[in-house]
């Protein structure tokens, strides 16, 4: 099975070295070949299960509550200024 590893890595936002590309392309191919076994299972009238236990929407009142640990949260940020997260430029 051929995988466009550059395309997948780009979608996943992971840079890969040439060695990683070679290794992952080979390993993902063999895992996907194994996964292709699922095609043997007849599922025409079978609905998909995303959650094994029945789930329902959980709603709460739309009420603003104070955030009391802003400093502890921002202390984890790689780059922060004026209570905001700073990132490299996003526009040319």
């Amino acid at each position: 099975m051929q995988i466009d590893i550059d395309h997948i890595a780009r979608l996943a936002r992971v840079a890969l070295s040439p060695e990683e590309k070679e290794l992952f392309a080979r390993q993902l191919s063999s895992i996907l070949e194994f996964a292709a076994n699922l095609q043997k299972v007849e599922t025409n009238d079978i609905p998909p299960t995303a959650h094994a236990i029945p789930m329902k929407n959980v709603l709460r009142d739309d009420q603003a509550v104070p955030c009391e640990n802003v400093e502890a949260i921002l202390a984890n940020a790689p780059d922060e200024a004026s209570h905001m997260f700073r990132v490299p430029k996003i526009l040319e």
Partner: protein
């Protein structure tokens, strides 16, 4: 005294025969003695643990608000948030992360007066079956330090087996509590999906993840579940059902309990010594009055493939948050945002995490979604229905927890698929959201074998009943690893 169970120690603590400070000191001394060989912990919190032990002793002295966990040293898997205490998921991308809040299970442990002694090692982001995928160091099995402790909760299982902790928390997405429990000769329970709050558990695959206990015996697992189970408004998937007193299920009797032995997990691919131990356990339960039948769940053949599409798909989405912006690692000097994301993720994630993110991305990508992800969700339904059918005539199902005993370090790291197959017996349970418990049922050489008991959703009591009766009529749980 660190060899004892929590319920034995609780008696000693309340009778004032020992103090929590003495107990905690004994556990810390044991860690000093053996941790170099086991390497179960990522972070130790000696000073804070002694502070918590002193507070527990005050509580015990006052005689008020004492719980079965008050003063008991516990280890917490390092994918559960602890406020102000490094929570790494054994990943370089979170190596310096200080959570601004506690996971709900941690809040509950602290409120109960448990003494948190440290954070345990795991496969990075709980992705793995040997704890070799930790970015920091592998953990070693206390029964034979040349073998793996299983994974991903290998640090927690090894810590309990080595008496470096009395109890531990684990999380289980495809077997990550039960398989290490099996390899390390301890008890491990994956509760029903939704039984325990996942708030503050770093997400891997959200429709499969569940937190549970790793303990020295079945009674301790029931005690921990009494505390951990219950609805949490902070986790919308936690279920609002009353929590029974699980200790009531520890009656020591299995008369007329209907037990199904899973045919597909007693055939090829299961080591002969493991199979023999399970057969002997089944005979013991029959002797105790249980009604044994063989059941067939033909879809199990497809469970591993189903899981390795669904879990990576969910992981690829959950791990999108590690982008170098709000917390965690960021690579320096990248000129634009996308390059920063990609380089940060390359530097921060290990090979197994990258493999699963890409596998999941592939399964969800345009042109492949129906053939892989949607197909897997449909086969998941088939597996769930096979369980429902089996439970029409059975109260619990039995199988080996793992097809083998602990394997040598490095034996499976080169071939991801062979590693994935070590979860063949545990994965179907997560796909169906069911509870299952692993307990010791024998040895191959000096390495423990685990018996898996699977129950119906929200009927953990049946697991406790069968496991406790078996345990009380065997001696396996009394054996300890000679380190």
């Amino acid at each position: 005294m660190n060899n004892k169970t929590a319920h034995e120690l609780h008696t000693l603590l309340t009778e004032k025969k020992i103090s929590s400070v003495e107990l905690t000191t004994a556990v810390l001394a044991r860690i000093d003695q053996v941790e170099e060989k086991v390497k179960a912990f990522v972070t130790l919190t000696k000073d804070e643990a002694l502070k918590q032990a002193r507070a527990a002793d005050e509580r015990l002295k006052s005689g008020e608000n004492i719980t079965p966990l008050t003063g008991i040293p516990i280890a917490v898997k390092d994918n559960m948030c602890t406020q102000g205490l490094r929570t790494t998921c054994s990943s370089n991308i979170l190596a310096n992360y200080l959570p601004p809040y506690d996971a709900t299970v941690v809040t509950k442990l602290k409120a109960a007066g448990a003494v948190i002694i440290g954070k345990t090692n795991l496969d990075e982001f709980a992705m793995g079956s040997s704890t070799e995928n930790s970015a920091f160091h592998p953990t070693h099995n206390p029964w034979d330090v040349k073998t793996v402790p299983g994974g991903s909760s290998g640090g927690s299982a090894a810590a309990v087996a080595a008496s470096e902790a009395i109890l531990a928390t684990g999380s289980d997405t495809g077997g990550s509590i039960r398989q290490p429990a099996s390899f390390c000769g301890v008890v491990g329970l994956k509760p029903t999906y939704g039984r325990v709050s996942r708030y503050g558990l770093v997400a891997f695959a959200s429709s499969l993840d569940q937190i549970g206990p790793l303990t020295k015996d079945v009674t301790d697992a029931a005690i921990m579940m009494n505390l951990l189970a219950g609805h949490d408004p902070k986790d919308s998937t936690s279920v609002d059902l009353p929590v029974p007193d699980y200790r009531q299920a520890l009656v020591g009797d299995v008369k007329n309990v209907r037990i199904g032995v899973i045919k597909e997990l007693m055939g090829t691919g299961i080591e002969p010594e493991v199979k023999d131990a399970i057969k002997a356990a089944v005979n013991k339960l029959a002797e105790l009055g249980a009604k044994i039948t063989e059941v067939s769940l033909p879809s199990f053949e497809y469970a591993v493939a189903t899981y390795y599409l669904i879990a990576p798909a969910e992981a690829s989405s959950n791990l999108a948050r590690y982008d170098g912006v709000k917390f965690g690692l960021r690579t320096k000097g990248d000129k634009d945002l996308i390059t920063m994301y990609s380089n940060t993720r390359q530097a921060g994630f290990g090979p197994e995490v990258k493999r699963r993110i890409m596998l999941g991305t592939y399964a969800l990508s345009a042109g492949y979604y129906d053939a892989y992800y949607l197909k897997a969700l449909k086969v998941r339904t088939v597996i769930k229905r096979d369980f429902e059918k089996a439970f029409k005539d059975c109260d619990v199902l039995l199988s080996p927890t793992a097809p083998t005993v602990a394997f040598k370090l490095g034996a499976k790291t080169a071939d991801p698929l062979s590693m994935y197959l070590s979860d063949i017996a545990t994965i179907p349970v997560n796909l169906a959201g069911l509870p299952a418990l692993s307990l010791p049922c024998g040895f191959a050489g000096n390495l423990p074998i685990g018996l898996q008991v699977i129950g119906q959703a929200f009927k953990e009591e049946a697991l406790f009943r069968v496991s406790f009766a078996y345990e009380q009529n065997t001696e396996w749980h009394k054996k300890t690893a000679a380190l």
